[in-house]
């Protein structure tokens, strides 16, 4: 994510809470994601099952995250995002990104205040 691309990114498309699953009748399979932050900082919303609270993670370069698709989450890429993230999604060959429709009060607060992380030094 660079200065040129960050402003074009459809922020809502990933920031709205969603799950990544394959549904086959009553059987729900989740995909799993392994993400490495190679440069910059990546930000990520997630919800803890059974709780209505949404948390926001900030993960700097040279860190990795594992998360499973059934856990509601959302990547936050915004105008100040500067990062190189390498993400691998593994599991069922076909899967679907489903927006949960659950509120994300942190995203609402961000929108209301215009708050963004400061730009990293170039």
């Amino acid at each position: 994510m660079t200065a040129a691309t960050a402003g074009q990114f459809d922020e809502d498309s990933l920031a709205q809470l969603h799950v990544n699953v394959h549904v086959d009748g009553e059987r729900v399979e989740e995909v799993e994601e392994f993400m490495q932050v190679l440069d910059g900082v990546a930000e990520w919303f997630f919800e803890i099952e059974g709780e209505r609270d949404v948390a926001l993670l900030s993960l700097p370069a040279r860190h990795q995250i594992y998360y499973h698709g059934a856990a509601p989450h959302g990547g936050w890429f915004h105008a100040n995002s500067r990062s190189v993230v390498f993400s691998q999604i593994v599991g069922p060959a076909e899967w679907e990104m489903r927006y949960t429709g659950a509120p994300n009060p942190l995203l609402d607060e961000i929108r209301a205040t215009g708050a963004l992380p400061p730009l990293l030094p170039a």
Binding site: T5, A55, L56, S58, Y66, H68, A93, E96, M97, L106
Partner: protein, 147 residues
């Protein structure tokens, strides 16, 4: 932990450390962040030394194309189980032997947003990089080590 720091406190905290904003409190550092993430079966860790070395060998990422980054940094099939266990404290939802490494996601918006700004080329590269690791027997016990 900084109690009640909220979003302003979270945004002001050092960007060089993992941090999480949860219920208005800001948790900084690996252990504190994992204390929150693990509640959802997720987890973080520093990149292993071999990946840090690979990253340093890549040098300026802006000068590298997707295929080069994938070739250097891809996690291989035999590593996923251990990572899920170590980072998330859970087993993979799909047994490692049955994992599809070339997946296709759909969303209600055209194209998967996670593809942006990457495209099919990087998926192709990843797919060719990761096959065919390793050999498995019928009960998913690995019977050969990857090269």
């Amino acid at each position: 932990m900084v109690r009640g720091a909220g979003l302003p406190g979270f945004l002001a905290a050092a960007p060089s450390l993992p941090k999480v904003l949860y219920r208005g409190d800001v948790h900084c550092g690996l252990q504190a962040v994992n204390g929150v993430l693990r509640r959802a079966g997720n987890g973080i860790a520093p990149l292993p030394l071999k990946r840090v070395a690979a990253l340093e060998d890549l040098g300026d990422l802006a000068a590298r194309d997707d295929a080069e980054i994938v070739a250097a940094m891809a996690v291989h099939r035999y590593e996923f189980e251990g990572m899920a266990r170590e980072l998330g404290g859970r087993e993979l939802g799909t047994p490692a032997a049955a994992l599809s490494l070339r997946t296709h996601g759909r969303s209600r918006k055209p194209g998967h947003p996670g593809d942006y700004p990457k495209g099919e080329d990087s998926v192709q590269s990843l797919s060719s990089m990761l096959a065919p690791f390793p050999k498995w027997d019928a009960d998913d016990t690995r019977i050969s080590e990857p090269p």
